[in-house]
Amino acid sequence: MDYKIIPSICSYCGCGCGVLFQVFDGKLVGTLPMKTHLVNEGKLCIKGWNLHEHVVSDKRLKSPMLKKDGNLQETTWDEAIQTTADKLKAIIQKHGPDSVGVLASAKVTNEENYLAQKFTRAAIGTNNVDHCARL
């Protein structure tokens, strides 16, 4: 029998509430609010309370999906990235860089968000970059 409490941060929104994962024999079975965390002081919203459910959900995507012959199919990261790059290039060539927009995330680091805007402005060539906190 192995029971563990693992502190973590909620992955849903940008608030970053402190959570505790309850792990029973290697299986994630529950989420608790962290009482001493300064962001949430022991409180959570309904999404946070149910974090463990989406982690272990069988509906969760575990690899990138690519639409082939009208159906979404599992694929490798290499193929997914290559396809996205090819399509982006084709769109930019045909409709210009302003036809592309990039939405960054509250749940990645500042540095990753910086990279996202750099990529949008320098590689794609548009100012169409925004963030999920404003959606």
Binding site: M1, Y3, K4, I5, P7, G18, L20, Q22, F24, V29, G30, L32, P33, M34, K35, T36, H37, L38, E41, G42, K43, L44, C45, I46, W49
Partner: protein, 289 residues
């Protein structure tokens, strides 16, 4: 994040060193684990500067040196209930404050835990402050602001004082409180004595889905009714409620009625509850009022 953290003094230590009480507690736990009196011990340990619930086992006896009483209060008995549901034969040791002990009594009554498989080490009730206020019913509660006092309900008000509001005033005040509800289910999720497989609060005929606040006042009153003979006034629900609804006041009121009618004081012992429908004996005895 680290520099933001407050220092949490260990309740048993004023100097930062280990007090003899803490050492005694750790030795006791080591002995229990070593001699297989318990298979695991639920207590607290500092992890990333936070006092977190922790499960100590025989495989890692040295770790017991890090056992603390913890300044934050979690429902260790709820964790025990979860473990027992999966592995009923396991012997569980538990660090118990007064509220944990009361909850254990209720869990024994309702056959969620077997007292023969449980050992407790009793510690003082919330010996230090988690926040500026105590979460426990025995400690000084949080002060509420003047707006809430004026149109809502002060969380620390006594049942008697709350009953002095006129009917209409009382109704409006409660509705003000209830309509803040986010339907997070935190009050139910954290409650040590909420263990039903199917919860009425998730029953779509009773509580419609798709909007917040949930149906008021049904949502809160359903929960309140179910807390009669169950709630041990630990305060965890109110503490986890993101919108500070004075939930305990409701549950205190229903338990007052339970006491008046059945002479049953919830959580004080592991005697049969008047509401228990199992067994040969009729336990529902009404007291003459």
């Amino acid at each position: 994040m680290e520099e933001q953290m407050k220092e949490w003094p260990e309740p048993f230590s004023t100097t930062g060193g280990k007090t003899s009480m803490l050492v005694t507690m750790q030795e006791q736990v080591k002995e229990w684990l070593d001699q297989d009196k318990v298979d695991l011990f639920l207590g607290y340990k500092m992890v990333q500067k936070h006092p977190l619930p922790h499960c100590f086992t025989k495989d890692n006896l040295d770790e017991v040196d890090e056992l603390i009483a913890g300044q934050a209060r979690y429902s260790l008995e709820k964790i025990a209930t979860k473990i027992a549901a999966e592995r009923p034969e396991i012997k569980i040791g538990l660090l118990a404050r007064d509220c944990n002990q009361r909850a254990l009594n209720v869990l024994y009554v309702w056959n969620q835990l077997n007292p023969d498989n449980l050992e407790t080490i009793n510690v003082n009730c919330c010996p230090s402050k988690l926040k500026e206020h105590g979460d426990c019913s025995y400690l000084e509660p949080e002060q509420v602001g003047s707006f809430k006092k004026m149109i809502g309900i002060d969380n620390i008000i006594e049942v008697k004082a709350a009953e002095e509001f006129s009917q209409e005033d009382r109704f409006n005040r409660w509705m003000y409180e209830f309509q803040k509800c986010l339907k997070c289910y935190g009050c139910r999720n954290i409650c040590p004595v909420c263990f039903c497989e199917e919860c009425s609060l998730e029953h779509t005929d009773l509580i419609a889905t798709g909007s917040i606040p949930p149906e008021v006042p049904i949502f809160h009153l359903v929960r309140a009714v179910h807390m009669g003979g169950r709630c041990i006034d630990c305060g965890l629900c109110e503490d986890t409620c993101p919108v500070d609804i004075p939930l305990r006041l409701l549950y205190r009121k229903v338990n007052e009625t339970v006491e008046d009618v059945f002479g049953y004081v919830t959580g004080t012992n592991a005697d049969q509850s008047p509401f228990n429908l199992l067994g040969d004996e009729v336990t529902l005895k009404i007291k003459p009022i």
